[in-house]
């Protein structure tokens, strides 16, 4: 699908109530991602301020061919999540698209303390001055959420 057809398809989805794009990562760079995000950000809210973006942002390679290991590639590693979060912050997507909210879903929360520490260190050293810890905190608190999932045996009734 080329970008013109992609935009048409997204326009169709947008016109019929879609609020986000579920996008699987590929090795190829997604040059059109800003266009896609812009399209979403211009959407009039349907029922809430909820915005959803896939955790599979560009630059997050899928190392395991899911076709051969049907449940493996998506379920077993949280490293793509860390990479996705880095990508969102380092490209300042929350600044460019302040109405867009980012959900890191089905990936637990255990990586959050690590990434907070690691991003703080990284951004304090950033030569371009793009980040300080307070800026990172503002990004995180205003634009993102991580959804934790209890282990199935901890659910009521299990």
């Amino acid at each position: 699908m080329n970008m013109d057809e992609t935009i048409k398809e997204l326009q169709f989805a947008k016109d019929h109530g879609a609020c986000g794009i579920l996008r699987k990562a590929t090795w190829k760079p997604a040059s059109g991602l800003p266009i896609l995000i812009s399209l979403l950000c211009t959407k009039k809210p349907t029922a809430s301020t909820c915005r959803s973006a896939s955790t599979s942002v560009p630059g997050t390679p899928d190392f395991v061919p899911a076709r051969e290991f049907s449940l493996g590639s998506f379920m077993r590693s949280q490293l793509p999540t860390v990479h996705a979060f880095h990508t969102i912050i380092r490209h300042q997507l929350p600044v460019k698209y302040p109405k867009l909210r980012f959900g890191i879903i089905e990936a637990g929360c255990s990586w959050v303390p690590f990434i907070a520490w690691e991003l703080k260190r990284r951004m304090e050293k950033a030569a371009d001055g793009s980040g300080t810890f307070s800026q990172f905190a503002r990004y995180s608190l205003s634009s993102g959420f991580a959804q934790g999932q209890p282990h199935v045996r901890h659910l009521p009734g299990r």
Binding site: H16, A18, S48
Partner: protein, 138 residues
């Protein structure tokens, strides 16, 4: 305070692929079952997509507290009643099959996602307020 379920899924069904265009019919996924069934294990079935098997889950109604009518959007009003019972105002719907890459051929992937988007749009049209779909793009 309205509750938004930002991560809920549907299960694709045969109707999901009814929106394939004429020249895309050869890409239509079909359901297959294992040739040898082990009665000691849970039942299994597959989507055959582009010559490859992808899991088509057989879910337990009691365990999931859902029914095939609600999971596959065969009965949207019933799903809405379930949402009301849970106090959920909005659900953001995600697919199941497309969580795993079903094919490496772009033309197949594009056709299936296009059909999925239209199927979901039609199902969501039955409820003007409670559904927010999730468009698929390869």
């Amino acid at each position: 305070m309205p509750i938004i379920d930002a991560d809920t899924h549907i299960d694709e069904t045969e109707a999901t692929w009814e929106y394939l265009r004429e020249f895309e019919q050869e890409y239509k996924p079909i359901t297959q079952y294992p040739s040898r069934v082990d009665p000691s294990k849970n039942p299994t079935r597959y989507w055959l997509v582009d010559g490859h098997r992808q899991m088509r889950f057989v879910r337990d109604d009691n365990n999931t507290r859902t029914t095939v009518e609600t999971r596959e959007l065969l009965d949207v009003q019933k799903r809405l009643r379930d949402m009301d019972a849970m106090g959920t105002e909005v659900q953001v719907l995600y697919p199941t099959l497309f969580l795993m890459e079903a094919t490496e051929r772009p033309e197949v992937s594009t056709a299936l996602r296009r059909s999925y988007n239209r199927w979901l749009a039609d199902r969501c049209a039955e409820s003007t307020a409670a559904y927010v779909g999730s468009a698929c793009r390869r």
